[in-house]
């Protein structure tokens, strides 16, 4: 009888407790983060945000949800499309809310767990705080964090997903951003033909192999393997677009030495990420090669490696193009785990009528 009393007491306490906060009894399922062969340790701090299947799925849903923008039309995925390696297909500058333009070409998203600084000017110092910028920027998603919390807390499925991922019903900025990071760090692109060649599972054909040799000689000092960027900021000798007036890295460091410098972009998946350049001024790779083989303006902050231009013959450009094609990672581009979750629809493309409202 005494036992029965104890059991009833315990049950009562649990019931009372549960009426205040719904606590998940199920632990989330850990998600493995596999470092590709030969790659260094990632810089992302997984101890502070352990990867779980539930956290990843929550992040994936947030990434594709237009409700993170003020009018419901702009999800992260509007400007970061999977088939374009999570860059914006065919747009020099992305389109933001209220018929606005962004000032830079949307970068492709992959291998972010190895990246220390974000944005082309490196102004953001942690992956978890990066999404705050596009979400709140008036020319991108234009929403406030308060409104997003209201929208998510109202949604029964989100409430369930936050419990599954983090153990209780709390929905706050930190958890939203941690979930997004869990999705973003899993976007690993390491299965291109180049990678399979490096792992001894495939071999380059003649033009690809010749292109790789030219690449190592003329491009690799900035586009360093295996990430195909050294993550530095450089001025490649582009004149400033006076309609945008973007000084790049200088805006962050306030150092004139950094004027017109932008982060070296990765060349992985480069074939599916046109247009090129920080403001998308190059429509094709041919435009980019033409720029590099021209003598760039001497002086200013133009990179010393580029002042004389990079000598590139038409023949070499052909071989380089063949090599760069081996960096396309179709496994990554078609991976269903990164696609729009089932049951969700992409936010409708905003039309002129919508903007007039």
């Amino acid at each position: 009888m005494r036992k029965l009393f104890a059991i009833i007491s315990v049950c009562c306490i649990i019931c009372i407790g549960n009426s205040f906060v719904f606590v998940s009894s199920k632990k989330p399922t850990p998600l493995a983060f596999t470092i590709p062969k030969g790659w260094p340790q990632p810089v992302y701090d997984f101890k502070n945000n352990p990867l779980t299947k539930e956290g990843f799925e929550l992040g994936r849903r947030l990434f594709y949800d237009g409700r993170l923008s003020r009018d419901g039309n702009f999800s992260c995925a509007s400007c970061h499309q999977q088939f374009a390696a999570f860059s914006t297909f065919d747009h020099p500058l992305s389109h933001g809310i209220d018929n606005s333009f962004t000032t830079r070409n949307a970068p492709a998203l992959f291998n972010l767990a190895w990246q220390k600084e974000f944005m082309l000017d490196g102004g953001i110092n942690h992956l978890d705080v990066q999404p705050l910028s596009p979400i709140t920027a008036p020319n991108e998603m234009g929403e406030t964090l308060e409104n997003i919390l209201v929208k998510l807390r109202r949604d029964a499925l989100y409430r369930k997903q936050f419990v599954a991922a983090f153990g209780d019903t709390t929905i706050n900025t930190q958890r939203i951003m941690k979930a997004l990071s869990q999705f973003l760090v899993m976007l690993i692109s390491a299965d291109s033909k180049y990678d399979r060649v490096m792992n001894g599972k495939a071999s380059f054909n003649l033009p690809e192999g010749l292109g790789y040799d030219i690449f190592k000689q003329k491009c690799a000092s900035c586009h360093k393997e295996p990430f195909f960027t050294d993550y530095t900021y450089r001025n490649i000798g582009l004149n400033m677009d006076t309609t945008i007036r973007d000084y790049g890295r200088m805006r962050i460091t306030r150092n004139v030495e950094d004027s017109l410098k932008f982060r070296v972009p990765s060349l992985r998946n480069v074939m599916v990420t046109p247009p090129y350049g920080h403001d998308g001024r190059f429509y094709t790779l041919q435009n980019v090669f033409e720029h590099y083989r021209k003598k760039t303006p001497n002086g200013g902050t133009t990179d010393s490696l580029l002042r004389k231009g990079i000598p590139l013959s038409n023949f070499e450009i052909g071989q380089l193009t063949a090599f760069l094609s081996t960096l396309t990672d179709t496994t990554f581009l078609h991976n269903k785990r990164f696609a729009l979750p089932t049951g969700m629809t992409l936010a409708p493309a905003p039309d002129a009528e919508m903007h007039r409202k």
């Binding site: 009393f5 953001i124 110092n125 709140t136 964090l145």
Partner: protein, 248 residues
């Protein structure tokens, strides 16, 4: 077995449980908290006047301005007794907001059996918290004290309008922060304490314009990033505090 007989059988057990609950919730806390609680009250002023968001004031350079927002983070509150050793009594971050009375009072433990002669605290946000992702509570970026494009907290903010400002909408806006070497806007503040009980600290916004550096709205109406101007404003707001002596 009736309910009544059940009650008789287990009533002594029930009473013991109730007594235990009473002891744990009511008696124990009183026994353990022998330390005196002290309230630190921040009173925001513009010179001699109490600061009221929406009201207008004049700085030392004759510039009239209306204040809309005045907020600042403080953390790591320490007390010293007459020996001069500082003891941390509250490490947490607090956001003092002139528009929110509940944010202006901080409860801390006093020094057991000793008289407090000095208070020290840090204005700003610990540098580690500027570089380790999204924080919660008063440090949640939705508090509007966070730069999203150039990561870092705004440590202190004074915003409003002034006809002297040539900025759009005549705004003047001082958002001060910076955690990197050479541009840290963190400032440590040490003040004397002459009272026995609660401590009242006055923060005078007029010092933002006139202390170590001369800041005029005409020349500098906007500070929206770390750097030189932020450092000058930080050197000024470092001196905006004073404690109120017992008789005032």
């Amino acid at each position: 077995m009736t309910i009544l007989s059940l009650y008789h059988r287990y009533s002594s057990h029930l009473l013991k449980q109730l007594a235990a609950i009473f002891f744990l919730t009511c008696v124990l806390p009183v026994l353990t908290v022998a330390q005196k609680k002290i309230a630190i009250l921040f009173v925001n002023k513009a010179g001699a006047e109490t600061l009221q968001p929406g009201n207008s004031y004049m700085n030392a350079w004759g510039e009239t301005f209306t204040v809309y927002k005045f907020k600042y983070y403080i953390h790591n509150i320490r007390f010293a007794d007459s020996v001069g050793q500082y003891v941390t009594v509250d490490k947490a971050h607090h956001l003092v907001d002139a528009a929110d009375a509940s944010s202006t009072v901080i409860q801390v433990n006093g020094l057991t059996g000793k008289r407090i002669t000095s208070i020290r605290f840090t204005l700003g946000v610990d540098s580690v918290l500027n570089t380790t992702g999204v924080q919660t509570g008063v440090l949640d970026p939705l508090k509007g004290m966070f730069w999203t494009w150039n990561t870092g907290y705004i440590y202190a903010k004074l915003e409003g309008k002034s006809n002297i400002s040539a900025m759009p909408g005549n705004i003047f806006s001082y958002d001060v922060g910076g955690y990197k070497t050479g541009e840290s806007a963190l400032r440590e503040i040490t003040l004397p304490v002459t009272t026995d009980g609660n401590i009242t600290i006055v923060a005078d916004i007029l010092k933002w314009f006139d202390s170590r550096n001369k800041i005029t709205i005409a020349t500098n109406a906007v500070c929206h990033e770390p750097g030189n101007l932020a450092m000058q404003l930080a050197d000024n707001y470092r001196n905006m505090f004073h404690t109120v002596p017992v008789n005032e």
